[in-house]
């Protein structure tokens, strides 16, 4: 933060201008595509878009300059996400590598790991996915049973990971696995970096309710990775994984809200086109959706105003609030469409709104179900008894 910062308005204009000049031509079909629930859209073109982004200098905005980043303050990173979304920027194929793994490596990786892995991420060439959940370890992450062990100077893995999005588009996966045999809970776990293209790894798509397969199961059957592909020491896995989850929060929040605002605009358009905008009940529900979105925005601004190192009650409630808002939006959209919504649509607004209806059912489940969120709010936010 010791160099002159570009003025935020100027920076925003710069992002908007770049987006307008690059998200066009062959990239035009990507506008507003590829977000959650739409990740099957144009995978090849989106890989190329990542390289385009990298060439524009838009990857690693918050990384230290020593690691090839731009060391921008939080406000400008947020501004980038917001302008990116406002311009209809597509879902980011590289976001797990850029926003989760990279900060983890910068904080906890060895200089060799940083030198080896960060450039591929920053250049939009190498994609990562995340191996945390398991069939028996969803909400209860500490119940992980995937095992790993050192053998002949290599790590070997055996087990199964679940809900791994983008696995079929990624080169690497980071995996939380049990390195101390017989350990339970948070002890004895390690955080490994594993290449996906090897005989010991099998990726099977999980078909979701829309018929598409955005998530995968990843099976490790004596899969291998190099001895130095561990972040931290054996047994540090839980601590590393929790630090990583910490990086997840907040930054892309306002960008997500721009997507929500876009969806709400689509809903208004749909209501107008079918005349539902004249139904008093629909009008009030749309008003409630608009009100809820403004409140989400105010909530996010409260989080940012508090600064990077403080966590207030508004941060604690945010996931529950946005996921339920989004789920309600999906139901409202479907109610507005009426019987026309029964038939899969290929064009917006109908296409996207149908996707929101179905996919938003996952919003209240992944990254902490509603039930887990309420537990956390009660225990951490209100100091109520555990268990």
């Amino acid at each position: 933060m010791n160099k002159a910062m570009p003025d935020e308005q100027q920076f925003r204009a710069e992002v908007a201008d770049w987006m307008e000049r690059h998200l066009c031509g062959r990239f035009a079909p990507l506008r507003h595509r590829g977000g959650p629930g739409d990740e099957m859209a144009y995978p090849e073109l989106r890989r190329e878009w990542e390289a385009e982004m990298a060439a524009g200098g838009w990857i690693g905005l918050g990384w230290p300059q020593a690691h090839g980043g731009r060391d921008l303050p939080l406000a400008l990173q947020v501004a980038f996400h917001e302008e990116y979304a406002r311009a209809g920027g597509p879902g980011r194929m590289g976001h797990i590598g850029e926003t989760l793994l990279a900060p983890t490596l910068i904080a906890h990786g060895t200089p060799e790991q940083q030198a080896r892995f960060l450039p591929g991420i920053r250049d939009g060439r190498v994609f990562w996915c995340q191996g945390y959940s398991e069939p028996g370890a969803g909400s209860d992450l500490a119940a992980i049973s995937t095992r790993c062990w050192l053998e002949d100077g290599e790590w070997r893995l055996r087990g199964q990971k679940l809900w791994t999005s983008l696995a079929h588009e990624s080169e690497w996966i980071f995996v939380l696995a049990r390195s101390t045999p017989g350990s339970v809970g948070r002890e004895g776990l390690s955080f490994l970096l594993v290449p996906l293209d090897q005989p010991g790894v099998e990726i099977r798509p999980i078909r979701q309710m829309t018929g598409e397969a955005e998530f995968n199961e990843v099976f490790f059957d004596d899969a291998r990775t190099a001895a130095d592909c561990i972040v931290g020491k054996p047994g540090d896995g839980w601590r590393i994984a929790m630090a990583l989850l910490g990086f997840e929060r907040g930054l892309s929040t306002l960008g997500q809200q721009m997507h929500f605002a876009h969806e709400l605009q689509l809903l208004v358009a749909a209501a107008r086109s079918c005349g539902a905008d004249r139904d008093v009940g629909v009008r009030r529900r749309i008003a409630d959706a608009w009100i809820g979105l403004r409140a989400l925005r105010a909530n996010a601004l409260r989080i940012f105003a508090r600064g990077e190192n403080a966590t207030g009650p508004e941060a604690l409630v945010y996931k529950y609030a946005w996921s339920n808002w989004h789920r309600d939006l999906g139901q409202l959209a479907m109610d507005v469409m009426g019987i026309a919504g029964d038939v899969p649509a290929s064009e917006d607004p109908w296409r996207r709104l149908q996707q929101v209806f179905f996919f938003s059912r996952a919003d209240t489940i992944y990254a902490g179900t509603n039930e887990i969120q309420l537990n956390i709010i009660a225990e951490r936010g209100l100091g109520m008894p555990k268990g």
């Binding site: 959940s133 969803g138 909400s139 119940a143 078909r207 309710m209 109610d335 038939v343 059912r361 309420l374």
Partner: protein, 377 residues
């Protein structure tokens, strides 16, 4: 106190047969080929004949028997022309067609040798208005000519015939029998989110029909159509109740096996309370359904409003139970391999066909408060 019927022994037996038979023929995920075979077996069991009076080749059982069958089909996610043929086309014939047409078409529909659907206003709401009818009919000399496109016809790609409520030039409407193979009719299948509800488009561009294709009963035709669509709505409520019941069963079973934090999640109070609320909504809807049936059998005046009660509560129960089934199944509830998503799609479909909840509420409000609720300003 109007008497609530205890199920007869026959009805109990029918339910047991249906449960066992349908459980072995769940076809919501499989292709269409099996559907024809399923329909064939249903026909052998006599199911398409339950509502048809004996004089028209049916069994002449009551609507209570149809409710039993539809509850079980809702529970087992059955895909079948049963609903369109038995719950929709047969009542329309019985309440709105000529005696002659009943004689001609009901026996085949009762024995299952043919299937049928109905075309009227989109979504088949009993509260439809004349100008919403999809098809218009004009008299051209010694024939009728049908014009217009019905976009989403229930079972429209499979039904052997449709009974079309068409607008006539003079502002009244009539009922037409249209075989699926009528020359000039353009018929195409549509994809559906709810694959158990196949839909099809029926397009008429000056399609000629013989004079005898018009079969509406001379007196009380529109009232008959409305009543038939109300009965279909009641029977849809039965399906919804069956589906909601199944969602609850699945959720209790799954949460009773799934372990998190060292115990089955059915032991968590939040999970228990959600399941209990599903049960409250389910049993309330079930009571309302029986209330509507009782009113129907007593020929009580306010049958329409009792059907409204059943429909509003069945819609709410099924939507709630299907959504909660997904939520309480966690990640797998969202996947293709587990059934909650199939119920979720069906609950969504059922929520706005045959009149959505607000349409029924508005009708109730008009009865209770007087005046006419203008939904659109």
């Amino acid at each position: 106190m109007s008497a609530f019927a205890i199920p007869t022994d026959e009805q109990r037996a029918l339910r047991e047969t249906a449960t066992a038979f349908l459980a072995g023929h769940a076809n919501a995920r499989s292709g269409r080929d099996s559907d024809a075979a399923l329909w064939q077996t249903m026909a052998e069991l006599g199911w398409p004949a339950v509502l048809v009076p004996e004089e028209f080749g049916g069994l002449g059982l009551g609507i209570a028997e149809a409710v039993v069958l539809l509850e079980e089909m809702g529970r087992s996610l059955t895909r079948s022309p049963f609903f369109s043929t038995v719950a929709l086309a047969q009542p329309l014939l019985l309440h709105a067609a000529t005696e002659e047409a009943c004689q001609r078409w009901l026996p085949g529909l009762a024995e299952g040798s043919a299937t049928a659907t109905v075309i009227a206003a989109a979504g088949l709401s009993p509260a439809f208005r004349h100008e919403e009818l999809a098809i218009r009919a004009c008299r051209r000399g010694d024939r009728w000519e049908l014009q217009g496109c019905a976009e989403q016809v229930l079972d429209g790609d499979g039904a052997d015939m449709a009974f079309v409520v068409a607008a006539l030039e003079d502002g009244v409407c009539g009922l037409f029998h249209v075989p699926a193979d009528t020359p000039g009719l353009q018929r195409s299948a549509l994809e559906s989110w709810d694959s158990t509800r196949p839909q099809g488009r029926w397009c008429f561009d000056a399609v000629p029909l013989p004079l005898e294709a018009r079969i509406d009963r001379p007196a009380g035709f529109v009232a008959g159509v409305v009543h038939a669509l109300q009965l279909a709505a009641l029977l849809l409520a039965a399906e919804q109740v069956g589906g909601a019941a199944r969602c609850l069963e699945l959720t209790v079973a799954y949460t009773g096996e799934r372990r998190q934090f060292g115990r089955v999640i059915a032991g968590f109070q939040a999970v228990k309370h959600r399941c209990a609320q599903m049960m409250v909504k389910l049993e309330t809807a079930r009571s309302a359904l029986q209330g509507a049936l009782a009113a129907l059998e007593l020929n009580e005046q306010a049958v329409a409003s009792e059907i409204a009660v059943a429909r509003v509560l069945a819609t709410e129960a099924y939507r709630f139970c299907a959504a909660e089934a997904i939520q309480l199944h966690g990640g797998v509830g969202f996947t293709w391999e587990y059934d909650p998503q199939l119920h979720f799609k069906r609950a969504q479909w059922a929520s706005h066909w045959f009149g959505d909840a607000d349409t029924w509420r508005d009708a109730v409000a008009d009865g209770v408060l007087g005046g006419v609720t203008e939904r659109h300003q």
